[in-house]
């Protein structure tokens, strides 16, 4: 019998009931992610990549199929699959440290004492270079800083799987590059398994071990699965004109703009 991957999606499909009858958002999705891999999901907006991430997170129920994580079926949300939300979703009435502590206190309530949990919060804030802002509230932070805290909250609970939903989509280019470098460092040091949604081709190729390209909805599925064979650590300037980077980038662009161009553009 074939050994199952660390994260295995088997025949996932999602159908929503709407006023005009059932709407098939996703169909026949099979995806395997190995331990320690960073997989980028890319596709045009509306193709259902967020829905797929929500299914893995357990926030949306799959209509068909099953998900295995480390050999166990997962079908409800839980802190073993931490999510970094696009809008960071920090609670505005809590400080930076309290936002991270909400997650840490919940997950390690039984296993760590109060002081150890406090240390874990501060350690993770240091990892994202936000320890100096621990006492601030989210409203006092820039967008990039908020997302650093969002990442700290997600990794602090030592999840088995880290899910990132267009984490840098709302940030300016310089801040985004900065956070991308940080995610690469964190992934190297922590060995996290990551599934990340993006619509930025450069981000996908720079960060990911594999770029999984989705076809356009309705009934979207996985169109292509491209391995990015670039040595790590990757530095954006050094790899920018290597053939491996350029080749992968071209492949993704060709998929997105030749084979599955945006539905709106095709009609035009």
């Amino acid at each position: 019998m074939k050994q199952r991957s660390y994260l295995a999606l088997e025949g996932i499909g999602v159908t929503f009931a709407t006023r005009n009858g059932p709407f098939v958002a996703l169909q026949n999705i099979d995806l395997n992610v190995e331990r320690g891999e960073l997989v980028a999901l890319i596709g045009h907006s509306g193709c259902g990549k967020s829905t797929l991430l929500n299914v893995i997170a357990g926030l949306t129920k799959a209509s068909t199929g099953v998900i295995f994580l480390d050999g166990q079926v997962v079908d409800a949300p839980g802190p073993d699959r931490a999510v970094v939300f696009q809008d960071h979703s920090l609670l505005p009435w809590l400080t930076v440290a309290e936002n991270v502590a909400l997650a840490v206190d919940k997950v390690f309530a039984a296993t760590l004492n109060r002081a150890a949990r406090r240390d874990l919060v501060m350690h993770n804030l240091e990892l994202v270079h936000m320890a100096g802002n621990a006492a601030k509230r989210p409203a006092e932070l820039s967008g990039g800083m908020k997302q650093r805290v969002g990442i700290a909250r997600a990794i602090a609970v030592k999840p088995r799987l880290l899910l990132m939903d267009e984490p840098f989509g709302a940030l300016d280019a310089l801040t985004r590059a900065n956070l991308q470098d940080m995610v690469m460092e964190l992934q190297a040091s922590q060995g996290s398994t990551v599934v990340m949604i993006t619509h930025d081709v450069d981000e996908a190729v720079l960060l990911a071990d594999r770029v999984v390209m989705m076809t356009n909805g309705p009934a979207a599925t996985i169109g292509e699965d491209l391995a990015v064979k670039l040595a790590r650590p990757r530095h954006r300037l050094e790899i920018a004109d290597t053939s491996g980077y350029v080749g992968a980038r071209t492949d993704v662009l060709r998929f997105l703009y030749e084979r599955f161009s945006h539905p709106g553009e095709k009609a035009a």
Binding site: G78, F85, D87, S89, L91, W93, K106, V107
Partner: protein, 313 residues
């Protein structure tokens, strides 16, 4: 010297900072201001300036209004008392607001009956409001959370609440008197039933509109129901709750005056009715001022508490 506070002075060669020595034109014999060190405005002065800018306009308005009122009502046959007449005729009410209160060995004793100072009547009314409003706050928030978080409870109870909230407070009084048989608990119930509707409905809206993002955070962390209640739902809906609490306290104060006017005995509403029946219109005017000030203070206190709680989470 007026120029001591000014930073700029007119000199024959133009406007210059006053600590700069202007080049002296030779042919003019005009004296030029001697160089003076600039005195910076102290923090206290700036604060006083800001206070004055905020307080002066309403103060001027008040004086103008009193002036117009006095002018309109100063005719000898005027039916409505002028401000000066209010002051002279109700002098006793104004300067002895604590009549009937005695301090005996550190204990406050209040005389029984209706012949007590206006602040004693107000204290009686405030006590009734405090009890009725506190009960309404607790029950209102609990019911609001219930119909806000359960669609079934919302569908079952919301139509009932929407109908009951339009019943005027005084319409409850006969039922309340019949049920409680005594004036005081009947009034307290009236306050409760008046204040509870805005608290319920605003709390429910606050709970219903908790952003999906916060609910997703709670789901991913797998928070238990009590954890969700205390860590997400309550803090997220506190601003809405306090909107309801603020409307509720205003309505309580409206209702208490009406209720006490009808059923008599004690309280500021009774004071008004009593002064009207005794043809002491000036006393009524004094009572109106007190009612307005107390209502204003209640509103500001609830708003202040709400801001503090929302900030501290």
């Amino acid at each position: 010297m007026a120029s001591a506070v000014l930073k700029l002075v007119e000199t024959p060669v133009g406007t210059l900072p006053e600590n700069v020595v202007a080049p002296q034109p030779l042919r003019l014999a005009l004296p030029v201001a001697a160089p003076v060190a600039v005195v910076p405005r102290s923090a206290l002065q700036l604060w006083l300036d800001a206070r004055a800018a905020a307080i002066l306009p309403p103060l001027i308005m008040l004086v103008v209004l009193l002036g117009v009122w006095q002018a309109l009502c100063s005719a000898p046959d005027a039916r409505f008392p002028s401000p000066i007449k209010v002051w002279t005729e109700s002098h006793d009410v104004i300067v002895h607001p604590l009549k009937g209160v005695s301090f005996d060995a550190g204990k406050i004793k209040v005389a029984d009956g209706a012949d007590v100072g206006i602040l004693v009547h107000i204290a009686t009314s405030l006590e009734r409001v405090a009890i009725g409003y506190s009960l309404a706050a607790v029950a209102g928030i609990a019911l609001g959370v219930l119909i806000g978080s359960s669609l079934f409870a919302f569908r079952a109870l919301d139509p009932l609440f929407q109908v009951l909230r339009t019943v005027p407070p005084l319409a409850w009084l006969p039922l309340s008197l019949a049920a409680f048989q005594q004036a005081n608990p009947a009034t307290v119930f009236l306050i409760f039933i008046t204040a509870i509707w805005p608290i319920i409905l605003n709390t429910a809206v606050g709970v219903q509109t908790i952003p999906a993002a916060y609910r997703n955070v709670a789901k991913v962390l797998a928070l238990s129901r009590p954890q969700y209640f205390f860590k997400i739902m309550l803090p997220a809906s506190v601003p809405y709750m306090f909107t309801g609490l603020r409307i509720g306290v205003g309505m309580s104060w409206l209702a208490i005056v009406a209720a006490e006017m009808v059923q008599g005995g004690t309280g500021i509403g009774f004071f008004i009715w009593d002064s009207y029946n005794s043809s002491l219109l000036t006393d009524t005017i004094v009572a109106l001022v007190y009612i307005g000030l107390v209502g204003f203070a209640l509103d500001r206190i609830v708003a202040f508490v709400g801001r503090r709680i929302a900030r501290e989470g």
